[in-house]
Amino acid sequence: MAFPHRPDAPELPDFSMLKRLARDQLIYLLEQQHEVDKLYKVENKPALSSSEQLCFLVRPRIKNMRYIASLVNADKMAGRTRKYKVIFSPQKFYACEMVLEEEGVYGDVSCDEWAFSLLPLDVDLLSMELPEFFRDYFLEGDQRWINTLAQALHLLSTLYGPFPNCYGIGRCAKMSYELWKRLEEEEDGETKGRRPEIGHIFLLDRDVDFVTALCSQVVYEGLVDDTFRIKCGSVDFGPEVTSSDKSLKVLLNAEDKVFNEIRNEHFSNVFGFLSQKARNLQAQYDRRRGMDIKQMKNFVSQELKGLKQEHRLLSLHIGACESIMKKKTKQDFQELIKTEHALLEGFNIRESTSYIEEHIDRQVSPIESLRLMCLLSITENGLIPKDYRSLKTQYLQSYGPEHLLTFSNLRRAGLLTEQAPGDTLTAVESKVSKLVTDKAAGKITDAFSSLAKRSNFRAISKKLNLIPRVDGEYDLKVPRDMAYVFSGAYVPLSCRIIEQVLERRGWQGLDEVVRLLNCSELAFTDMTKDDKASSESLRLILVVFLGGCTFSEISALRFLGRGYRFIFLTTAVTNSARLMEAMSEVKA
């Protein structure tokens, strides 16, 4: 039941090129340049290898530096000398070198960089696998990753030609875009004259739409991610799914034919689909009866393997479905979804607030409670002071006092705020916007302005018609709009923005929405007249999510189609739990 793409839908660009590129670079780097002959996973434990040289391929994280320093120092204590090389990917941070220096091992270690940042997780999905991006940028205001982003975009344009139409919204999107353009200018000639393969690129900051990312996912792929956590395109199905005593690591992508047909489906359709599929499969097996020898030979040599493969995948996904149903179709889950929908639509706020309070009181889950609080805050332009205090108090009592810091983080990121009396807020706002006109001052007020920013979700929702009017039941089997990814209750804001901008070929007529999103200076369009772009390429759109995107958003845009085809680049695939964990302070 994968969405039947229109017959004229454009072909996807060849992402396997990136895979080959990465593989070749890695082999060259490890074998030729650093003479690596055995690979280990970097884990926080002593190095087992007795080799004369240790080579670390790591993300530029302080934690990793401490680990390396401790290994080197342990060797020194043991009177052992060997060579140490650190390869940072995708780039080296000065802070990392500083740590090595402060730990007294900088002289013992040589550093290198591997600028690899684009991992093709699927035929239409590239991930930079930088989950830390979200916290680093949106909480800490750390802009170091922007360079990595610009480099990645630059690589894409050298591989797939220039992008004739660029759109974007958000501060990070704008900065990345500008840096990227500068890189192109500095190395001009490389992409010039090339035929564009991808007609449009759309950059979107995660903080433009927190709401969508905070919702429970109900399309299959999103639900699998919420339930089992998909890591780097694969998932560990435990014994409860595999119905054996072993866990199984399963790649989830378009090559899994069964998965490919259900990934974008609303969960309520999946089980029915799978059982139909199982019956068909049985029928195909049954054909064996009454075959003569020759037919049987054909059957065994040509069909059986495929059937067995399908059989295996089918039973895995049925197992996953059962496990999800056990967890999710309990009354609890339905009430949860009901509360979420009420929050999105903005009715029964008191009831929802009590629901959240009960959720906290019962210690259902720290991450879930936090998520609901944030969803309430954003959809309501902040909590009213009384609720803000009491929910936080309850939360601290249930889950521990260290979350005082979590709340401070959430406030800074604009995820959980207190409603300020109307006039005070406007005063602050106008003050900030005056300051923002001064470029340098813009930076000072960065962190501060997020506090004063209103999410305006309700107004945006009305403007963009995010809550579909439904007469009667929303038929989830035959979705009519992107709202199906949330059971017909809500069209993902991020996807709606993209749809609108593409339709209008820019931001014309969306001024009010952009203002409500607090992005007046941060929405941009850049179109170059390119006669070389084929009509096919003009129907391909690369959507870049800065700060992560959810599988629901991917499904929604895959559905949107309309002769367009979307491909995705994200800093990491995310979901509500990952967002909340990124903001949480936990005791070390």
Binding site: N147, E358, R362, Q363, Q397
Partner: protein, 700 residues
């Protein structure tokens, strides 16, 4: 027509040669060439002369003069030699003159006699002195090979990237070899040397004896050897007056010749013109020159590329000519004109008699914003000549502010460097490292107060520095917040410290107190109160551990009360709930869960009757069913209020009664809910009942 061949003389049977003067040398030599060290650069490059006073027994009193001439003898430079005795001269591929001193120090001069740098060939050379030295060329650059007084060889294959290599010992070598040379095989430099009748090849690992194929017998010593410029060919001259010519790999002989002259030649070199198939060796004695040639073989010289040609013109300061060539060849600006202009500018800044303003203006007028010109490189050159002010003026023309930073730092203009680094960050955020570098410079340069003040005016740098401190310098972070009167962050800082840095309970409470004070200052009463509650809780948990044993520290308030109930301390639990004003609802949920976990049904029932439940009775039903106790669950199902009655009855599996209630309520949703629970034959009657009620409702 015979005049064309009139000056050609026969050489052997099939070849002819002629002699004519290309040009006469312009120089006016004061010394005899024989008294001088002479070095001519390859490809018609310059010639260096240094009278060699050290060769004589008695050193001359006057200092010698180092002279440099063009290939046609035009004087380029002349300077008094003030350093130590020189053993050997040679030109690098970049036309730098390498002067090897007896003590192993190599001085490097430019084409115009300008001193560039010096380096040493190592301690071993210093101790044993240089006996002989050769400058040689490989595809990587130019190298130096040294024979020391201890008869050991040291070499560096590329003086641009100096790596010294001490070659292994030659077994039994008591005196200097009769002759030696460097050869290059498989991109590695080796040394070939002759000791008596034997030839040895030295590489960095071993010394091996080698024999040229087809060498005539009777040789007792090699007097001279020569390798061709490309290291392909080797010629050997023996004490029997015999010349062997072959490949440098010693795998093949090309030809041999007996000249019957036993005197050692002064010089022997390979010669031939580009693309010529005639290979020849020229041997020179005091008054005789001999050309030995044969060996037709295809050979190709690497020609000078246009880039190298331009480099040479630039080195000779022939800028206009170089630019004309670029324009004629239509070279891209970056490779051509811009590069030459940049070289010109670097020369220009060295003109000390012109004022800073004039130089800067002149350079900017000529260069404008020509692509590929780096003003920071030119400025660096100006700084190198001691012209700091000029350097700063030139940097102003540099459009990429990031490029200005390293030089500004070098010139100790750190604050300016910081604003430039940040300015570059405005557009090029990849330059975070730059900001960081400057920050660390500043941190070392300024005292703490000034450093923080500087940071305060640079918010972007401040945020970067904070990030770093968070991981590496917690104390500095605290000072930073203090400096900014950022009490909110200061409070958070101490909260974190209370569970990350402090171990003792007193320390933790103290950290929390500091945090609470900070929160009050930040007018964040909520956080202050929450922190004070936590202090109380910590102290209390400590007391509980002392009195009851078990683990209480670091539990949340909720979990603390739960733990008390689970260990039968109901009184204390109630007291705690009162002290910390736990809301009724929470307390009920908490007790309900804890008692059900204990399966203390009696206590649960007592609790349910203690007063009217603020959370209703459905949760009681749910929790009993969760513990699979239907009997207990049913007790509570009857007490569930009408709104949730159906749900409760369904939970305990009483479908029939649920149906009755739903019908009584005339509630459509409830009826469908019950219907969805009707399974199989047992509930058939109930299902019918609901259908009938529905039908009746519709009739009305």
């Amino acid at each position: 027509m015979d005049c064309y061949t009139a000056n050609w003389n026969p050489l052997g049977d099939s070849a002819f040669y002629r002699k004519y003067e290309l040009y006469s040398m312009d120089w006016d030599l004061k010394e005899e060439l024989r008294d001088c060290l002479v070095a001519a650069a390859p490809y018609g490059g310059p010639i260096a002369l240094l009278r060699n006073p050290w060769r004589k027994e008695k050193p001359a009193s006057a200092r010698p003069v180092l002279e440099i001439y063009s290939a046609s003898g035009m004087p380029l430079a002349s300077l008094l030699w003030k350093s130590g005795p020189v053993v050997s001269l040679g030109w690098s591929a970049e036309e730098e003159l390498l002067c090897v001193q007896e003590d192993g120090v190599v001085l490097v001069y430019g084409l115009h006699g300008d001193f560039r740098r010096h380096f040493s060939m190592g301690n071993e050379v210093l101790q044993n002195r240089v006996l002989d030295a050769r400058i040689f060329h490989t595809e990587f650059g130019s190298g130096v090979a040294i024979l020391t007084g201890a008869h050991r060889f040291t070499l560096s294959a590329n003086v641009g990237d100096l790596k010294l290599r001490r070659m292994p010992e030659v077994p039994g070598l008591q005196s200097a070899p009769s002759c030696w040379t460097t050869v290059c095989q498989d991109r590695v430099a080796h040394i070939l040397l002759a000791v008596g009748p034997d030839l040895y090849l030295l590489d960095h690992a071993a010394c091996s004896a080698v024999t040229p194929p087809g060498l005539a017998p009777g040789v007792s010593s090699f007097l001279q050897m020569a390798v061709s410029f490309t290291y392909r060919h080797l010629a050997l001259f023996t004490d029997t007056g015999y010349i062997w010519m072959g490949t440098a790999s010693l795998k093949e002989k090309l030809c041999e010749f007996n000249c019957n002259i036993r005197a050692p030649p002064k010089q022997m070199v390979w010669c031939s013109r580009p693309r010529s198939k005639e290979r020849a060796v020229v041997v020179a004695w005091e008054r005789r020159l001999m050309v030995v040639g044969d060996a037709p073989e295809s050979i190709q010289y690497k020609q000078l590329t246009i880039q190298v040609l331009l480099d040479r013109l630039v080195l000779r300061r022939l800028y206009p000519l170089a630019i004309q060539i670029c324009e004629y060849l239509r070279l891209p600006e970056v490779q051509g004109v811009s590069r030459i202009l940049a070289h010109w500018a670097c020369y220009k800044v060295q003109q000390k008699d012109v004022s800073d303003e004039d130089v800067a203006r002149a350079i900017n007028q000529k260069l404008g914003d020509t692509p590929g010109v780096s003003y920071s490189d030119i400025a660096a050159r100006a700084y190198g000549c001691g012209r700091t002010e000029l350097a700063i003026k030139l940097l102003e023309y540099e459009p990429r502010s990031g490029e200005q930073v390293p030089l500004l730092l070098k010139m100790k203009r750190s604050k300016l460097a910081l604003s430039k680094a940040i300015e570059s960050g405005d557009t090029d955020l990849g330059e975070q490292g730059l900001v960081f570098t400057v920050l660390l410079h500043l941190k070392n340069e300024l005292n703490r107060g000034d450093f923080f003040m500087t940071l305060r005016n640079q918010p972007m740098a401040l945020s970067l520095y904070r990030q770093f401190c968070k991981h590496q310098e917690l104390e500095t972070l605290k000072d930073l917040y203090n400096q900014d009167d950022n009490h909110q962050e200061l409070g958070s800082f101490h909260i974190r410290a209370s569970y990350a840095a402090e171990e003792r309970i007193e320390g933790r409470v103290a950290a929390l107190q500091t945090a609470a004070d900070a929160f009050y200052k930040a007018k964040n009463e909520f956080a202050a109160k929450a922190t004070e509650d936590q202090m109380r809780l910590l102290r209390l948990q400590r007391r509980l551990e002392d009195e009851l044993g078990g683990q209480f520290l670091d539990l949340s308030l909720h979990d603390t009360v739960t733990t008390l109930i689970l260990s039968g301390q109901n009184k204390r639990a109630e007291q705690l709930a009162r002290d910390f004003r736990i809301p009724d609802k929470r307390l009920w949920w908490l007790k309900l869960t804890a008692l059900a976990d204990l399966e203390d049904w009696e206590e649960l029932e007592k609790f349910s009757k203690s007063k009217k439940s603020p959370i209703g009775y459905l949760p009681f039903v749910e929790i009993c069913m969760k513990q699979h106790n239907k009997y207990e669950a049913k007790k509570y199902a009857s007490r569930v209020g009408p709104e949730q009655k159906v749900k409760a009855l369904l939970l305990v599996g009483d479908v029939a009664q649920a149906a009755d209630v739903a019908i009584e309520h005339r509630n459509e949703t409830e009826m469908s809910l019950v219907l969805s629970h009707c399974t199989g034959a047992t509930d058939g009657a109930t299902a019918d009942k609901i259908q009938r009620a529905r039908a009746q409702a519709q009739k009305k």
